[in-house]
Amino acid sequence: MAAKAKHVFSLKILAECSTTKARTCLFTLPHSVVETPVFMPVGTQGTLKGLLLDQLDELDCRIMLGNTYHLGHRPGPELLEEAGGLHKFMGWKRSLLTDSGGFQMVSLLKLAEITEDGVQFESPHDGSIMMLTPEKSIEIQNAIGADIMMQLDDVVHSTTTGPRVEEAMHRTIRWLDRCLKANKRPKEQCIFPIVQGGLDSQLRKQCAIELTKRDVAGFAVGGLSGGEEKSLFWKMVTLSTDHLPYEKPRYLMGVGFAVDLVVCVALGCDMFDCVYPTRTARFGSALVDTGLLNLKNKNFSEDFQPIDKNCQCSTCKSYTRAYLHTMVTNETVACSLVTVHNVAYQLRLMKRIRESILEDKFPKFIQTFFTTMFPNKNYPEWAIEALKSVNVNLR
């Protein structure tokens, strides 16, 4: 084990909630200081769906995601290296996080086979057999140059049970060590290990404890949000945060629904990502505190309000629901307009959460949030349970 070095990547806890496990922190990365809890929008191919760099700046977005599988294929690590990394290639000056590429291999590709060496898959482009090893994943991620890289993990579907889950957990730990060793730019780029262990409490706990022995800047909780029961999901989340070091950030992968964000912040998570806000925008759906507005719906054809009168985004400042209704199905500009709003919504939600934690009013925020989202008080059972576990009783 390497001696614990002083990290460029430092977490400063500003305030913690006196009721729940929530906290608000400053996470210093090479390209920006990120305020947590944070939602990170997903810019799969090195662009956030139709948004200019200045628009992201104006939304105060400080960190976004790129996907290693996609970027590794196009434009490819050689070009990214020649360009001086993804930051320079896309003109983005703030922080980036990349995944390992493994998840896409397993979820998008047929015939992916996992061996101790890595993930073997058939190239969708020329049909040849290719191998993504932990070393290869880090090599590509080093070329991309994101502030935070993800270890290659052995991904199993969240509903899988039995010995395969345990095998994946142990392999994930072995692959972490290979990833850490392969990192050529540890001063500029850190690696987050990923807590695996499926829906098995013992395995998750064991995994978290084992990963914690490595000198890393933060941890991710993976293998969830894949269609498992929510009552099991939140228990795995809270168990993971219980066993991860307090002074390091915890990133819950693939979570981005507003309700999930509020609950999981209460359970002690600091970082989130999800394609949902940008993907749903493309179908004309706008996020609001009461849920979702499907702007394609005829009800909006004579609705001359903005999407959300409390929202300060450029879309809500200029456009009505009625006008967006005329555009959503046929002009690309509508996609950009709703995307701007949805990203603004996610970032503002996190800002409101952070402010309430700073003032130690987070439980009150949770209460108001839930009564707005569920005016008939038909709260999801799992959320009631999860919040109860951190001393918040939804009324």
């Binding site: 200019l52 200045d54 070009l79 360009a83 450029s314 200029s318 006008y323 005329t326 555009m327």
Partner: protein, 400 residues
């Protein structure tokens, strides 16, 4: 009511100022100019927030009716007109009948009305519906309903018919317009039709001129649509000259087409004052960036190499690792922040941002070209600009 004052007529070239426009009475616009092309009320691919990052944005927004007409009930209930409805309230709105880049099929007009093609298919506009839409939209200027469905092959009989109809539409429109409270500040441009028949063209001009219209739209030489980019104005130059000769000099003339820069200069020389900007949109849709030079060389820059084509196609693999801007020294947002290589990547991955970045650049380039056109007129250097514009070939060959 709209005013047009000529300020410079040299060798038959004209430059003027339009003022007192409907909802923007304090602003003026210099001719010749191009309008801001829109689809469904917005600049293609560009939200208001993005559009406002462009310098030299035209004051007049061009809103073809075909896409918007479907929504006139909602705009009527909104009550504040199409400009504000589409978040374009800081522009002057001109409503044309057709979109210059959308093909208008021949044979769908009759004495009761004219067909336009929107997203939901064909929409038949009679004068009553047409005026109901104008009263809802409250544009600053609109083109009178017209039957411009003629081309070089149209018969004399057909040419007589389109003139008869268009004049009859105009009378019904004026009747409703003059009684309308909501259109009090709105100007009408009369449509000059008649195909390639000189007698009918002359009749149309004389009759239209005798009615209270504030400007003229010249159409009926070709059907709107993608092919107009290759229309050779030489085909109708004599007739166009004849029309312009008998049009009053103190009213602006507008002509819609996909206008490459050489055609703009040619049409301007014949006497056209107002153009549309569908050309940069069409260029964007084929993944290209405009690179033609419109800056007249000074002694210092004389002899610098000119681009070989009007545009470069960014899907070409030669731009894969080209980290220079779309166009060297271009001051647009795209060129100041992004590279050819990045745009090539966005096109390869079919990302929406590609169209946005190309549209910003192409609009910027085209609007700057018009600025240069006006400057060259006032400086007496139009011939120099023409030499620059006529040199390059139009389209590049592309290797993917």
């Amino acid at each position: 009511m709209m005013k047009f004052v000529l300020k410079n007529v040299k060798n038959g070239y004209r430059a003027g100022v339009i003022s007192e426009l409907g909802n923007q009475p304090d602003k003026t616009v210099d001719t010749p100019f191009c309008m801001l092309y829109t689809r469904g009320g917005s600049a293609p691919h560009l939200s208001r927030d993005v559009l406002n990052r462009l310098k030299n944005l035209p004051l007049v927004a061009h809103m073809p009716l075909n896409i918007l007409a479907d929504h006139h009930e909602a705009v009527r209930k909104f009550q504040h007109g199409i400009g504000k409805f589409a978040a374009m309230e800081d522009r002057v709105v001109y409503c044309s009948l057709h979109d210059p880049s959308t093909l208008v099929k021949s044979g769908y007009n009759d004495k009761h009305g004219v067909s336009v093609w929107g997203k939901g298919g064909k929409l038949k506009l009679d004068t009553e519906l047409f005026m109901k839409i104008q009263e809802s939209f409250q544009p600053d200027i609109y083109q009178a309903l017209s039957d411009g469905d003629t081309d070089i092959n149209s018969t004399r009989k057909r040419c007589i018919k389109v003139v008869d109809r268009t004049l009859s539409f105009l009378d019904s429109i004026l009747d409703i317009h003059n009684k309308s409270e909501r259109l009090k500040k709105t100007a009408i441009f009369g449509s000059i039709v008649g195909g390639y028949n000189e007698a009918e063209r002359v009749r149309c001009v004389k009759e239209t001129v005798s009615r209270p219209v504030q400007g003229f739209v010249i159409e009926g030489f070709f059907n709107p649509g993608p092919d107009t980019e290759h229309f050779q104005i030489n085909e109708c130059v004599n007739l166009l000259q004849k029309i312009i000769e008998i049009l009053p000099v103190d009213k602006p003339r507008l002509m819609q087409s996909i206008w490459p820069p050489d055609a703009v200069i040619q049409a301007y020389e014949l006497g056209i004052d107002i153009f549309d900007s569908s050309y940069p949109y069409v260029v964007t849709e084929r993944s290209s960036a405009l690179v033609f030079t419109y800056i007249i060389p000074t002694e210092e820059t004389e002899g610098e190499e000119l681009p070989e084509t009007y545009e470069i196609n960014l899907t070409d693999k030669k731009y894969f690792a080209d980290f220079s801007p779309l166009l060297k020294d271009c001051k647009c947002y795209t060129c100041e922040n992004y590279t050819r290589s990045y745009v090539n990547h966005l096109l390869n991955t079919k990302e929406l941002l590609a169209s946005i970045l190309l549209m910003i650049h192409n609009f910027h380039h085209y609007f700057e070209f018009f600025e240069s056109l006006r400057r060259s007129i006032s400086d007496g250097k139009l011939e120099d600009l023409k030499k620059l514009i006529n040199k390059p070939k139009k389209l590049p060959s592309v290797e993917r």
